[in-house]
């Protein structure tokens, strides 16, 4: 049984997915997903292009309807977008005709502008509150989108490859920002990404989707803040990457999962990972 190392908090919601299937016409994108996510857990969903990870996220968000199977949020089936769930898209999707602060305040009631300003302060854009989105850079726009997603304290945050269009340095800063806000607010987070290193850096658990099913589900047993330079970190990234690319699938099964040989300084005791 894999050990879970995540921060449990009262602000997240649990997600139960059983036998989830989604077809578009006669193309089957998801052919039976079984997944359980605990409140406050940070789960990364990785996989090749077209493996259905974005579709899974959109189903959780209520933007699509499943063909079959169950998708339960706090034991209630998901039928349409819920106010407790917020999603961050790959493009910022800011309304160009509203100023930055009004974009963040979207969906808030009247007189809640202060919440919007606070959210902007958290992402470091408080001084750009009254500008038009068109003058911001890509990274800044995504930060505004993040503020908008978090302004109403959602219980579940869905991230659909939000950092894919950013440059490498901005990406790392955004990862740190997302992690710190998650640690602070304690919502459940599901991150879809193609970047294995990002997944291992941020998540408690990495789930691989292959051919419409969950092909791998490994916990990430490192403490935070994650140290990318460390051997154990890099080793896990490498092993997951090779599994995704299909290079080491045989080796994985044979050795019964990667065994960590280094207990790095400042990291919690490491456990042998077993495919659950």
């Amino acid at each position: 049984m894999a050990v879970r190392v995540w921060k449990s908090s009262g602000s997240g919601v649990d997600l139960k997915i059983r036998g989830l299937r989604k077809e578009f016409g006669n193309r089957q994108v998801l052919s039976g997903i079984d997944l359980e996510i605990q409140p406050g857990e940070f789960v990364a969903v990785i996989g090749r292009s077209g493996c259905g990870k974005s579709t899974l996220l959109r189903l959780i968000a209520g933007l699509e309807e499943p063909t079959a199977g169950e998708l339960l949020l706090r034991n209630v089936p998901v039928r349409k977008p819920s106010p407790e769930v917020r999603i961050m898209f790959q493009d910022p999707r800011l309304l160009p005709w509203k100023r930055v602060v009004d974009n963040v305040a979207l969906g808030l009631g009247k007189g809640e502008k202060d919440k919007a300003k606070t959210a902007l302060r958290q992402v470091g854009l408080h001084d750009r509150a009254h500008e038009w989105p068109s003058v911001l850079s890509g990274g800044q726009k995504q930060r505004v989108a993040l503020a908008r997603a978090l302004v109403n304290r959602p219980r579940l945050l869905l991230l659909d490859e939000p950092l894919g269009a950013l440059d490498a340095l901005t990406r790392i800063e955004m990862q740190r920002l997302i992690e710190s806000l998650w640690l602070e607010q304690g919502f459940t987070a599901v991150l879809v990404t193609h970047d294995v290193e990002e997944a291992v850096a941020l998540a408690d658990r990495v789930v691989l989707l292959e051919q419409g099913r969950v092909a791998m589900d490994v916990p990430v047993p490192f403490s935070r803040p994650r140290q990318r330079g460390h051997g154990a970190f890099a080793a896990l990234v490498d092993q997951v990457l090779r599994r995704v690319l299909g290079e080491a699938s045989r080796a994985w099964e044979e050795t019964d999962g990667p065994a960590m040989t280094e207990a790095a300084e400042g990291m919690t005791p490491v456990y042998a990972l077993r495919r659950s």
């Binding site: 209520g62 933007l63 977008p81 999603i87 898209f89 509203k98 979207l106 038009w132 068109s134």
Partner: protein, 261 residues
């Protein structure tokens, strides 16, 4: 430094007027040197004089008011019908299926060619003129409103739905602002058509209005008044265009394409 910047700004603002002033200069010169008979092209001074006379007698403002009223009424009626249909057809697919083909068929009839028919139906009174202006204005507003609604960014619509915007707020905060650049293009075009239609409609038969004033002057060989009315048309056309530009600047200031370069 400040004086230099101010001068540059005034200079840049004046550039569009260089050409008209040049034309005026050439006109003045031509009439001074009697290069053209005054029957063909009267001197600017006599045009100015007739203008002042008409203003003082109150006639000019009377005609202006009538013309303006016709244009405004036609624009209001045609514009609202076009806008409403564009909105409804853009938002509700069934409505589009029902009405769009018919509207497109009517759109392709040159409305000025309908003048004899309109005179038969409405006579030569105010109704005929307002009707002509209205159908002239309707189609550009319809087409551009429809297109604007249909071109709204679907990604933004999806985002709006996820962030809790329901139908009315979705329309007001995402659909309408998204369609606005296209709608304003329609308005700008419609303003041009409105003025053109009015000029033609006023020449058919009228008892007031700038067109009537011009026709009357032609009967009495008062070419300076004819020229005056033409100048007035040009001036008001420019005014209509400027108001359209003002609307764009006011409502589209978020768009980098419309910001002052």
């Amino acid at each position: 430094m400040k004086r230099k910047i101010h001068f540059l700004r005034v200079f840049r603002g004046g550039v569009p007027w260089i050409l008209p002033v040049l034309v005026l200069g050439v006109w003045l010169l031509a009439s001074e040197r009697s290069l053209l008979s005054t029957r063909i092209l009267p001197a600017p001074s006599s045009v100015l004089q007739s203008g002042i006379e008409l203003v003082l007698s109150g006639e000019l403002f009377g005609h202006l008011a009538v013309s303006f009223r016709r244009a405004a009424a036609g624009f209001a009626i045609g514009g609202s019908i076009g806008f409403l249909f564009g909105l409804v057809n853009g938002l509700i697919p069934i409505s589009e299926k029902l009405f769009d083909t018919t509207i497109q068929m009517f759109r392709n009839i040159p409305h000025l060619a309908l003048i004899p028919l309109v005179v038969l139906w409405f006579g030569i009174g105010e109704k005929a003129k307002v009707f002509l202006v209205a159908i002239g204005v309707l189609f550009p507003v319809y087409v551009n409103t429809f297109h604007g609604i249909r071109s709204v960014d679907q990604g933004l619509m999806e985002m709006g739905k996820v962030y809790g915007l329901r139908s009315w707020s979705l329309f007001w905060q995402v659909v309408l602002p998204g369609a606005l650049p296209s709608i304003l293009v329609g308005v700008r075009y419609a303003l041009g058509v409105m003025w053109l239609t009015l000029i033609v409609a006023e020449t058919i038969a009228a008892d007031a209005g700038i067109g009537f004033m011009a026709m009357n002057a032609r009967e009495f060989m008062q070419t300076d008044i004819v020229l005056l009315s033409i100048l007035l048309y040009a001036l008001f056309g420019k005014l209509a265009d400027s108001s359209a530009k003002w609307l764009e600047r006011r409502f589209l200031q978020w768009n980098p394409g419309y910001q002052k370069g």
